[in-house]
């Protein structure tokens, strides 16, 4: 099972109900293949950085789900077929999340070690002493 993030742009003239209905359809495609939808986030209408299919705006929707690679294939096919969607991007994020978690853990551990290793007085740096003048800020 992998975690994916899907960001897609719906046509600006699509109504709220249409988008909701479409998101529901996508959710069923994920759940029928044994995956789960973790997050649905609607960003609302945004200006596009460039024209896409002659549209200057679009409604962004972000979905996060965990599923196997096969179900992503089906998911993307649906997005491609639908004329409601003008653009989409799928990103696999489980490895990124893992990396970030590790970074955070390491950082916390280091901070913890620093705190427990006796609160020593701040030592003036050698360079500063040699110069004999306070370092210029910034």
């Amino acid at each position: 099972m992998r975690i994916y993030e899907e960001l897609f742009i719906a046509r600006p003239d699509a109504t709220e109900e249409e988008i909701d209905h479409f998101v529901e359809q996508l959710t069923t495609t994920v759940t029928t293949t044994g995956g789960t939808v973790d997050k649905v986030e609607k960003w609302g209408k945004r200006r596009l950085a460039y024209r896409v299919e002659k549209h200057r705006e679009g409604s962004y929707v972000l979905m996060q789900f965990s599923a196997g690679p096969e179900s992503v294939k089906e998911f993307e096919r649906r997005l491609r077929v639908s004329d409601l969607i003008i653009k989409f991007l799928t990103v696999r994020i489980d490895e990124t999340l893992k990396r970030l978690e590790k970074r955070k853990k390491d950082r916390d551990k280091r901070a913890h070690r620093k705190a427990t290793a006796a609160p020593a007085a701040p030592q003036p740096s050698v360079a500063q002493q040699m110069l004999g003048e306070p370092a210029v800020g910034q």
């Binding site: 653009k87 991007l89 970074r103 370092a135």
Partner: protein, 99 residues
């Protein structure tokens, strides 16, 4: 950052503005030491959805700012350029804009 080289004589009078002095034969000019923003602020995640952060690293025309100008370290520049390219793909950032 196009730092004009000081003409002989004028360089010593200009304010330093930085902590690192680089001396090249006779002409002396000062350069501020650049540091990676992501290392300094301990930003682990360079996300393609964070448009405001990425905007700081694209030039007026939409190009990615080179590392020699922004001062970003190599590992972070790699992740940054990946994020910018993803953001371009989904129309959050422009590929190129005419000024």
């Amino acid at each position: 950052m196009a730092e004009s080289r000081g003409r002989p004589g004028s360089a010593s009078q200009r304010p330093t503005g930085g902590d690192k002095a680089v001396a090249t034969n006779k002409k002396q000019y000062f350069r501020r030491k650049k540091v990676c923003r992501f290392c300094m602020e301990k930003i682990d995640d360079i996300n393609y959805k964070d448009v405001r952060l990425l905007n700081a690293f694209i030039a007026e025309k939409g190009k990615i700012v080179p590392r020699r100008i922004s001062g970003v370290c190599a590992p972070h520049q790699r992740r940054l350029s990946d994020a910018i390219k993803k953001a371009r793909n989904i129309a959050l950032l422009p590929f190129a804009t005419t000024v």
